[in-house]
């Protein structure tokens, strides 16, 4: 799941200064789950911005709020089109994808990001989220016992652990588990320690052409008939 974090209110406040009518738009999927941009955060941010406006007597804003199920698909955005037309800016609490999807759908409206899209991760416990995947596009989790060294090792090394591990923790942060120690323990448990002895060649860091695109369907050449 995509994990994001709401921007500090003062930053958002500065961002919206030029715009009078602002629609705060939440997203009901990933950012709801990570408490960054769901309906509750939308109302909370609205109150916070209204408070900020009240304290800086010079500013006047008209806020409206709405939460769609998912900002990253245009079909969800169609019903709010009339509303978007009436505002000067849309403050999106969706992830970066949502912001861009809004920008694409509403080319004549300013779209502002209200959250910092941070990583792909999971909830550790309520209120704590950890990064788990870098979306490198070349998954090796089969060899590392389901623990990603690219993400969870500070150095991202493929043949660990390094000499910086101490008591199972990382030298960078004494609180943080060493990913390679975790991998070792789990391989040991699975009886696959031989995978530890193997040498993994460095990843191919040749620039991957970005942006990436995935096609689920084969490109079919139109053949005669009605398609002609």
């Amino acid at each position: 799941m995509i994990v994001a974090e709401q921007k500090p209110v003062d930053e958002i406040e500065r961002m919206i200064v030029p715009y009078e009518r602002v629609l705060i738009l939440g997203c009901g999927t990933c950012v709801t789950v990570c408490n960054a941009g769901g309906e509750r955060e939308v109302s909370f941010l609205r109150e916070a911005l209204q408070l900020a406006a009240a304290k800086n007597a010079g500013e006047s804003h008209v806020f409206s709020e709405y939460t769609v199920k998912r900002q990253c698909d245009e079909e969800f955005l169609d019903p709010i089109a009339p509303q978007v037309e009436t505002v000067d800016a849309v403050l999106s609490l969706g992830c970066g994808v949502g912001v861009q999807s809004l920008a694409a759908r509403f080319p004549d409206t300013v779209v502002l990001p209200g959250v910092n899209t941070s990583f792909l991760g999971m909830a550790q416990e309520v209120g704590i989220w950890d990064e788990r995947c870098t979306a490198c596009g070349d998954c090796r989790l089969d060899e590392t016992a389901g623990i990603c060294p690219i993400t969870r090792c500070t150095k991202g090394i493929l043949n660990g652990p390094c000499a910086g591990t101490k008591n199972g923790k990382c030298e960078v942060n004494k609180e943080m588990d060493c990913a390679w120690i975790l991998i070792y323990r789990r391989l040991e448990r699975l009886g696959q320690l031989d995978k530890m002895r193997r040498y993994y060649p460095p990843r191919n860091y040749r620039p991957i052409p970005r942006p990436r695109r995935i096609r689920a369907f084969a490109k079919l050449a139109p053949v005669g008939g009605n398609h002609g």
């Binding site: 709801t32 309906e39 509750r40 609205r46 916070a48 409206s64 509303q83 909830a123």
Partner: protein, 714 residues
């Protein structure tokens, strides 16, 4: 999918959820013959709102002060708190509300809307309740009573130490003020006569005053008296001479009443003979314990077989019993042990093995099992047109509350009959809450032992007919009421399409109630939820609401009220405080603070601080408050973890306050961690600090203003 609920562009604060009530009927209410809104009035008592509690009680009960003394409280037997520790003392709490809520001051009146007169034969609880509701409906009502005073079994059956007569007199007096015509000392012998007198309908509640006979030799000897007659004589002011050694035969409430009355008449040795064992005894366990404390002895598995009067004393031959197979009533049948007879001497023997109605033959009614009047269970009609019957005369000896419920039902059925229509269906009945608490949930609930009302010491009370039980004091009543689990008004996912299945509710619930079903949907079982409101305040999708959403919605309403009031006065609020309504604030240290709220200090009463959301606090600041505080019961809260979660909301707002340069110290929480902590002093300091901030600001503005003026003129 978008729904109209998600659309909040023109959001009005306070209109967040549509008005609805999805709460389920709790087991206490379901068990009550009158279906009283027990959960609601207990909650009001927990907030110290006794007058409101009494209003709720009076809505469901015509004579709450009587029930407060003598109700057999089936609600307590069904209270789910018993699965945690012990059930709530519901009857004692009702008595507290009745006495502290000012029930004696309440006056009732009724106007006559119909001209069809209704006769009520018998003035027991069923008759009185029927008269009450018929008067409310607008019928002229006449009560015929064979004895000199009204009340039926309440007057002649229940001893005064259980129901003081002034309580009964107050209720009867109120009924007379409502315009009920009373004919005491008038025994009705013929129903035809009543119809001839012009009554259009008759309600028969003649009770069950006829004691059942033991059917043994010597039963008619002098010195043998039946329980109903004995109690009637004592209750009507006679003082029968009963001697020193008294035996009471039977194991029901009448037997206990007779025994305790005998003690109060001066008998030295009172013994109850019961043919089964303690476990099968139908009397109220509390009554049994009180009787034992007063010196009544109990002889179980024993039955008299012969009574013989010799030399002014009664020789009672008893036989020992053993328990055999269960009989038709489900209890094990006592079987005499051959050759175990023995003889004991008593001065008086009181037989209290059951009572039956005595219906005059001239009534010409069909009589059913146990000499009771045969009625249709739905319409309460007898075999004669226009004649309805209810109470003990129909059911056999039962409880006061059941009689009141029948009386109420009869009033509405008589109304239907006189208006020539079919019985209207029952008012919309709520879905009933069933099921036991999961062991995991029951363990997580804070334990709090039941607080019994104080009773007079046995040596004092056994001497006269003073009421045995004292009323709760304020503190004890509130503490006891807070034990209520609020069954059936917990959280529900109202907007399933909004739920992102983030599992926040599952993770924050202190009682392990929400769970993920096989389909991957979050379920919050209504029979487990404790209605603490934490998940409602934490749900990031705002998909969860309480089944009775009032306590959350009213925070918005209170804030709106403050906004309007301060706008009218052109003085912005200085301090807004979210104060819990329960416990501490109703009675304890903080009550003082909240009663002498100062100018500019506005209190938002909340039903537990767990329902305060970060957005509410921000709104308080937005309304112009210099400071905001949240004051709750802290660790003394009846629920788990409420202080922890409101502290999270506070931290969240503090972060925003810092980011906006307003200063985090403007928001404070007062959540004491132990009972001896008194947050009043800290609250006072905070109030002064915030007031100083406001003064400072005003001062700065004035100085600036003066300087501008000076510059302009200079």
């Amino acid at each position: 999918m978008l729904t109209s609920e998600t659309q909040k562009t023109s959001r009005l604060p306070g209109k967040r959820e549509p008005a609805f009530d999805h709460s389920l009927m709790p087991p206490c209410q379901a068990a009550c013959p009158l279906h009283m809104e027990i959960r609601e009035y207990i909650d009001l008592i927990a907030q110290g709102k006794v007058m409101e509690a009494l209003r709720v009680i009076r809505e469901g009960n015509p004579f709450p002060s009587i029930c407060a003394y003598v109700c057999a409280h089936p609600c307590e037997e069904n209270c789910r708190r018993a699965q945690v520790d012990n059930p709530l003392a519901i009857r004692a709490l009702k008595r507290f509300a009745v006495e502290f809520g000012g029930d004696r001051m309440i006056q009732l009146d009724a106007e006559t809307r119909y001209d069809q007169r209704v006769a009520i034969v018998g003035s027991g609880p069923a008759g009185l309740a029927c008269a009450y509701y018929l008067r409310k409906l607008g019928y002229p009502v006449t009560i015929f009573e064979a004895y000199l005073e009204l009340g039926g079994m309440l007057r002649v059956g229940i001893p005064q130490y259980r129901l003081p007569r002034d309580v009964l007199d107050t209720e009867v007096e109120r009924l007379i003020r409502m315009g009920v015509e009373i004919r005491t000392n008038t025994r009705v012998v013929s129903l035809d006569l009543l119809f001839d007198m012009g009554y259009k309908a008759i309600f028969l509640t003649i009770g069950a005053h006829q004691s059942l006979r033991l059917g043994i030799e010597g039963e008619d000897s002098p010195g043998v008296v039946d329980g109903a007659t004995f109690l009637r004589e004592v209750n009507l002011g006679l003082r029968p001479v009963i001697g020193e050694r008294v035996a009471v035969v039977g194991g029901g409430n009448v037997a206990i009443d007779a025994a305790r009355t005998a003690v109060r008449l001066g008998a030295k040795h009172v013994s109850i003979l019961y043919r089964r064992s303690r476990g099968e005894m139908p009397a109220d366990p509390q009554e049994i314990a009180q009787a034992a404390a007063e010196g009544v002895t109990f002889s179980y598995l024993m039955a008299p077989t012969r009574l013989k009067r010799t030399d002014g004393r009664l020789e009672v031959t008893c036989v020992r019993m053993e328990l055999g197979e269960p009989d038709a009533s489900g209890r094990r049948k006592p079987v005499p042990i051959a050759g175990s007879e023995f003889t004991e001497e008593f001065d008086t023997v009181i037989t209290a093995i059951g009572q039956a109605p005595h219906v005059p033959g001239d009534f010409r009614l069909r009589i059913g099992r146990g000499s009771t009047i045969h009625v249709d269970p739905v319409t309460l009609t007898t075999t004669r047109a226009g004649v309805f019957a209810g109470g003990d005369a129909v059911t056999g000896p039962a409880t006061v509350t059941e009689a009141l419920a029948t009386g109420r039902k009869a009033a509405f059925r008589i109304h239907d009959f006189l208006q020539h229509r079919y019985p209207l269906p029952e008012r919309d009945v709520k879905e009933m809450l069933t099921g036991a608490l999961n062991s995991k949930t029951a363990e997580a609930i804070r334990k709090a032992q039941r607080l019994e009302p104080v009773t007079l010491p046995p040596e004092v009370r056994a001497g006269d007919f003073r009421p045995v039980e004292m009323v709760y004091d304020w503190q004890t009543a509130v503490t006891e009421a807070r034990r209520c689990l609020r069954c059936g008004m917990g959280a529900e996912i109202l907007f399933q399409d909004k739920c992102a299945t983030c599992l926040t509710c599952l993770r924050v619930c202190p009682y392990h109630v929400p769970y993920l079903d096989e389909a991957g949907t979050i379920q919050i079982p209504a029979d487990q939820c404790q209605a603490c409101g934490i998940c409602v305040a934490e749900c990031p999708a705002e998909a969860i609401v309480l089944r009775k959403p009032y306590d959350r919605r009213h925070i918005d309403e209170e804030l709106n009220h403050i906004l309007r009031s301060t706008a009218e006065r052109h003085i912005p609020p200085v301090l807004i405080g979210f104060c819990c309504q329960y416990g501490l604030y109703g009675t304890g240290a903080l009550a003082g603070f909240w009663r002498r709220a100062r100018a500019g200090v506005w209190i938002v009463p909340v039903l537990c601080v767990a329902k305060v959301e970060a957005a509410h606090i921000l709104r308080a600041f937005e309304m112009g408050a210099e400071g905001v505080f949240v004051a709750g019961c802290g660790e003394m809260c009846a629920r788990e973890k409420t202080a922890f979660w409101v502290e999270q909301q506070i931290q969240k707002v503090r972060r925003v306050l810092t980011q906006l340069g307003l200063g985090a110290e403007r928001l404070q929480s007062f959540l004491p961690v132990s009972g001896d902590q008194d947050p009043t002093a800290a609250l006072d300091r905070f109030t002064e600090h915030i007031a100083a901030l406001r003064l400072q600001e005003v001062f700065h503005r004035e100085v600036k203003h003066d300087r501008c003026r000076a510059e302009a003129s200079g």
